[in-house]
């Protein structure tokens, strides 16, 4: 390989760093998901293998991409997991915390490489030592148990251990790799070293009879290998090592002696297997000097250095990919372009509306077809940004487990509707509010096991995270079966803090008080919650996503907090209204009704104009005044009032006239112009004009 190729190769690896980061994060999530789902009974074989594979893949990937520091913890973690899955060290429930801690350290290292976050070497060293200590102690215990049993004649103990282990089997392997295996940078010595870790291995290379040496292509692999492995590992485990290296037909695995005496396995090999076999390679037989020069097995991905090769990482020629990774920026660009297409389609439709439908029948029919296709395309493109809410939910099992342990509570977390999809932008923003809510549930809502038993409940409390799509909105419920909100306590605390509250308030109104900044009824401030910072943040964050929060609570039975979010932030259902020469879009979800008031309905209270609607006095906000527009409609009685409701707070927007209902593509006005107070963005209408989208929250504030 010349320098240019080496440079290109190094660039290629950098290009793939991002892939490694994402895959590593996914492996960590998967590992954590399995670990927190374990009961005291421990993992089954499948779960252990899955955890092992995750650690193995991270280590392999880290080695390939040159993040050697990440292989340090993963290596010792993988070793311990390997001991556990091979029953060399018994599983103990406390290992879960250790594995989780190891995962955290790996995540910290990942963040260090990906985002330049600070990495604590002390944490790395600490977890590495802890894992190694468990390996050493575990091996010692296993050995001493066997020694003790042998010494005291307790042969049944040894037999029990032996019988618990899988039988030793001798496998014959015929490995005929791809001719381009060398070019792919696959390191066969690492592959064989990994096999060797499974048991006693003999390797014989078979090279076909020499042809004309002068025409030999040294980079083409003409060799095949015969391997004999005496191991307790299964055929699947052996094949797993070849997973990304050999096709099904390139590896033949045969069991040659079903259950040989382990003590004689090595010697029987000499007789049972090919006469030309090299001597058995014992792991311990490699001198220290050799061990230093031989590269450590860095996992299967280490073998495949050339990721661009068609057959790299187990990819086979012509094999269809089930998914591809695309940058969010590219998706956003696509969404933006489809948005432009929708606007163009609207313009065409508006222009065509002036044409005679009889004369231009074909044109009208084609435009209708265009409209349908455009909408379908828009929906398809929008769905690319949709991701399952399981991405958020998956972080809670561990959090719940740790907080419950810390607080001495028993908590069962249930998740429902994890496949519900919502916009990626919303997923990122909903995480913090949900975290606050779940923490509150554990800290305040759920009682201690003793208190629950006293109340005739199961000692373990339940938290349900439920997601569903209702119409164009996503509903997320956080439900607990705890003590419920304490009405009297909330009212007392509100009164203490000077928040207007009366005994006549409905439950729903009382529950809303907990969203007041700094409001907390917790008797003690803990590091988990109780500082009153949380529910107001929850509300603000949800409102920032055009969402709503609703609470239903029953004393002694529990609480349900419901968050309602729009499906996406990129398009909006709105009502277009006219004020003078300008057009505005009011989000449909904020509109209660619209009406033309009579002069009797209009009053002045404390210098402010209000409209009386069924007994309610609703403050009036004249848009022409707010945006300094000239319009002939300055009297509310001559215009239209659009009543809006934002989290129980109402207002009446005075507009000249109502125009139409639209699904509009939201454009950032800030990016293209500057922030306009009272607006959430802009859109382009069918006639090509820009209409401002009103931000009803800030309008209410401005109206005050």
């Amino acid at each position: 390989m010349n320098h240019t190729e080496q440079d290109a190769s190094s660039i290629d690896l950098k290009r793939f760093n991002q892939v490694f980061f994402e895959e590593c994060a996914e492996h960590l999530v998967e590992m954590e998901r399995i670990l927190v789902s374990l009961t005291d009974a421990g993992p089954d074989e499948e779960q252990l293998n899955a955890i092992f594979r995750a650690a193995h893949s991270i280590k392999g990937g880290a080695g390939i991409f040159g993040f050697q520091d990440m292989t340090v913890v993963t290596h010792v973690l993988e070793s311990l997991l390997d001991c556990v899955r091979n029953h060399e060290i018994p599983f103990h429930p406390t290992m879960v915390d250790l594995f989780l801690e190891a995962g955290d350290v790996i995540a910290m290292q990942l963040a260090g490489h990906r985002e330049g976050a600070q990495v604590s070497q002390e944490s790395i060293d600490r977890i590495r030592v802890k894992l190694q200590q468990v390996i050493d102690a575990g091996s010692g215990v296993a050995r001493s148990e066997i020694d003790h049993a042998a010494g005291t004649g307790e042969t049944e103990t040894v037999s029990a251990i032996d019988s618990a282990l899988p039988p030793t089997v001798c496998y014959d392997l015929e490995f005929s790799p791809d001719p381009d295996i060398f070019k792919r940078g696959i390191r066969l010595e690492s592959l064989f070293a990994e096999l060797e870790e499974l048991g006693e291995l003999t390797v014989t290379a078979k090279i076909p009879a020499a042809k004309d040496f002068s025409t030999l292509d040294p980079e083409i692999c003409t060799s095949s290998w015969h391997l004999t492995l005496v191991t307790k590992a299964s055929e699947a485990e052996i094949r797993d090592i070849f997973e990304f290296v050999a096709d099904e037909d390139q590896l033949v695995v045969r069991e040659v002696s079903p259950e040989p005496d382990p003590s004689q396995a090595a010697s029987s090999l000499e007789g049972s297997c090919d006469e030309g076999l090299s001597k058995v390679l014992h792991r311990d037989g490699i001198s220290n000097a050799d061990a230093e020069t031989v590269d450590p097995a860095l996992g299967r991905r280490t073998y495949d250095r050339n990721e661009l090769a068609p057959a790299a990482f187990g990819r086979r020629g012509g094999e269809a990919e089930s998914s591809i990774r695309v940058g969010v920026a590219k998706v956003d660009q696509l969404i933006n372009q489809v948005g432009e297409l929708v606007i163009t389609q609207l313009m065409l439709a508006q222009t065509a509306s002036n044409l005679d439908p009889v004369v231009y029948e074909n044109l009208h029919r084609s435009l209708l077809q265009l409209e349908r296709n455009t909408r379908d395309l828009q929906q398809s493109v929008m769905s690319i940004r949709l991701v399952p809410i399981s991405l958020v939910f998956s972080r809670f099992p561990r959090m719940v487990r740790e907080l419950a342990t810390k607080l001495g509570k028993q908590v069962e977390l249930k998740t429902v509707g994890e496949t519900t999809e919502l916009d990626k932008g919303l997923i990122e923003k909903i995480t913090d509010p949900l975290t606050h809510l779940v923490r509150n549930c554990i800290d305040h809502a759920l009682e201690t096991p003793e208190a629950r038993i006293g109340a005739g409940k199961d000692p373990a409390g339940t938290i349900i995270l439920k997601a569903s799509q209702v119409g164009g909105r996503i509903i997320i419920d956080v439900i607990d079966d705890g003590a419920g909100l304490n009405r009297a306590k909330i009212l007392a605390k509100a009164s203490e803090r000077g928040i207007p509250a009366t005994e006549t308030m409905t439950d729903e109104e009382v529950w809303q008080l907990i969203f007041a900044p700094g409001f907390s009824t917790a008797d003690a401030v803990t590091d988990i919650s109780g500082r009153g910072v949380g529910m107001d943040v929850v509300l603000r964050n949800v409102q920032a996503m055009s969402g709503k929060v609703n609470i239903v609570s029953e004393a002694g039975k529990g609480t349900r907090v419901t968050i309602s979010l729009p499906l996406t932030l990129a398009i909006l259902d709105g009502l277009s209204v006219a004020v003078g020469e300008e057009k505005f879009i009011i989000p449909l979800n904020a509109i209660i009704e619209s009406l033309q008031p009579t002069t009797e309905q209009l009053k002045t209270v404390n210098g402010r104009t209000v409209v009386q609607v069924r007994g309610d006095y609703i403050p009036l906000i004249a848009l022409f005044e707010l945006f300094n527009l000239s319009t002939p409609v300055t009297s509310p009685a001559k215009g239209i009032l659009v009543l809006i409701d934002v989290e129980g707070e109402k207002a009446a927007l005075l507009v000249d006239t109502l125009l139409d209902e639209h699904q509009v593509v939201i454009k950032s006005i800030e990016t293209n112009y500057r922030k306009v107070p009272g607006t959430a963005g802009a859109t382009i209408l069918g006639d090509g004009r820009v209409a401002l989208i009103l931000d009803v929250n800030s309008l209410l504030q401005m109206g005050k």
């Binding site: 390989m1 070019k183 066969l188 040294p218 980079e219 050799d290 020069t293």
Partner: protein, 112 residues
């Protein structure tokens, strides 16, 4: 640069004998093969006593993998057809392990 001594044939190999460098090493072996065969009776197809057991010195080899091993074995097999048997010498410890680990030990009669 490979060196050949006249008394007992000795070929000193150097550099990268892994997939990254084997293509560049091939001419060294081709040239050696030609000179070894040139000096013997083509009809007999057998090497002279002095050249029947040439030595390949690996002391200066910096990298070796399965690809390099395969090339050396092919070279060896070709020479064997003419009654010449190679002998590897000065094998760095790491390479010795690697050659055995890759299953090429028997081809070079390496002791275990």
């Amino acid at each position: 640069m490979p060196k050949k001594t006249s008394a007992a044939f000795k070929l000193s190999l150097a550099g990268d004998w892994s997939i990254g460098g084997v293509a560049d090493q091939l001419p060294v072996l081709t040239h050696t093969l030609a000179s070894l065969l040139q000096s013997q009776d083509p009809k007999k197809k057998h090497a002279s006593e002095a050249q029947s057991n040439p030595e390949i010195d690996l002391a200066k080899v910096t990298a070796l993998d399965a690809c390099g091993c395969q090339l050396l074995v092919c070279f060896h097999r070709t020479l064997q057809q003419y009654g010449i048997s190679l002998r590897l010498s000065n094998i760095p410890d790491g390479f010795m392990t690697k050659i055995r680990q890759l299953g090429f030990g028997r081809d070079f009669n390496l002791s275990h």
